[in-house]
């Protein structure tokens, strides 16, 4: 069986939608971060697949993916640091408790 582009794109789309869904519904801040990672990884898959199947002569998508991975890592590190700081104050990770400021 030949493997086509869509066989990669559909899982990536599902991953992206799961990420969006998780970002909106999860209560735990770490789980929200994982959802964000899912979204970013779906983007990476998209870039690699488009590069591999549509424009096999060049490397632009692959290079973009490398940078995107590094950026995602930086984002996670920063988010974890801030979450630890919040945890020291409120003693849990529930996003519903982070409501001191609203409207």
């Amino acid at each position: 069986m030949e493997i086509t582009m869509y066989m990669y794109l559909i899982p990536s789309l599902i991953m992206f939608c799961c990420g969006v869904y998780g970002f909106i519904t999860r209560k735990n801040m770490i789980a929200i971060l994982i959802s964000l990672e899912l979204m970013l990884n779906a983007v990476d898959i998209n870039f690699v697949v488009f590069n591999r199947f549509l424009f096999p002569g060049q490397m632009e998508g692959m290079i973009f993916t490398l940078f995107a991975i590094a950026i995602a890592a930086a984002e996670t590190a920063l988010a974890i640091a801030i979450i630890i700081n919040i945890f020291r104050v409120v003693k849990n990770l529930d996003i519903r408790d982070i409501t001191k400021m609203k409207f």
Binding site: L36, M39, L40, N46, F64, I71, L78, I82, N85
Partner: protein, 479 residues
Amino acid sequence: MDYSQFLMMRQELGLLVVFLLVFLYDLFMPKKAQTHLPVFTTVLFAVFTLLGLNLFWAEGTAFGGMYESTMSTEAIKRILNIGALIVLIQSIKWANSEFVAVRRGEFYSLLLITLLGMYLMISARHFLLFVIGLETASLPLAALAAFNKNHYESHEAAIKYLLTAVFSSAIFMMGLSFVYALGGSLYFADLSTAIIGSESALLIVALAFVISGVGFKLSLVPFHLWTADVYQGAPTSVTSYLSVISKGAAAFAFMIILAQVFGSVYSQVWEWMLYALIILTITVGNLFAIRQKNLKRFLAFSSISQAGYIMLGVVANSTLGLASVMYYVLIYIFSNLAAFGVIQAVENNTGKVSMDEYNGLYKTNPKLSAAMMIAMFSLAGIPPFAGFFSKFFIFSATLQTESVALYVLVLIALINTIISLYYYLLVVKAMFINPNDNPIATFKSAISERIALVICVVGIMLLGVASCVYTFLTNVSTF
């Protein structure tokens, strides 16, 4: 490799030198000299800004066209420099305060690095460089928002900012992957030729994703929910930086992207998206601003509606629109920083930020009240002050092409200007008219805060009247 192309990046290199000097000063100077770090940074940056005003202008491309420096990008970088300089002057006292003093080196390093990110964002002609610039500009800002370590609100602001920022940049990059699939390249120039005349659904989805990603940075309305919380929780210096510099850079970069990459599909695809966004942004920002009691939140919603006005220049999609966007950003920097300067002075001395507590401020601190009044008048767009002229130019740039939709758009914006007058005057009324038995006591603000306020007020008074500024910006504005 031809190293002379680095000479195109003179602004970036200059800023990098400033950053390195500040970093080394923070690292190696003895403890005694550390107290002078804020002044050292400010003076260094002032020298850099003032030298840049007529030196170091460069035109050309670097790195195979990934980076381009034109007269307009050079001009907007200098405008941002002026704003950042005022923010630095304002923050001197705060940076020397008890809890911040230990970590002030980090404050300055992070601030300068975000500015470098914005430079890259403005000059990028390739989406990879743009994304790197965008993230360099937004990630350190989350760390800066969390800078008040002993205030819980500060952390809350930071996590809200960071999570929404990452979410929106993920959506933005998803849009980019679709754009890449369409065009097979990430260079702006290649992409724009690849999508001429295309009306595919993929392009529309990609553009919607890209607009929402940048719209987050600009806090346009469906993506604005982080703004008020972050502005309230973050330290005031960071808030003022976030509200003017980051917004100005994003608006300019947005305009460059829309014009250079998607310019050929203007009327088919993104014109109407922007109409809807602008009307929503201006109206919702205004209506929510009316009910705010905290002045920082109040300015957050006011800055949302101001972003809507900036977008009017983007929708014009012409060089005149570009010039009026730059001019608007310049005036907005001075007006908003004047307002934040007053808030910061009052907050540093008394710790009060709510509008009720400003009642009767005129009796005790007449000069601060006058500065605040001028800032509010300029933000609202009352004639003798610069805010009127920036609004005027942005409306006239939008109305250059005759179409009914644009007339309706500008009419709605005008009506909203009148609504905004109401809440801007609420602040003035609180300070001048509302009675108060124990108003904020008379205090003497620090010399740095006074200098910053004087610069802002003079800027508001002169920039509207001195027509050479606008003439200069129209002369340099090219895509």
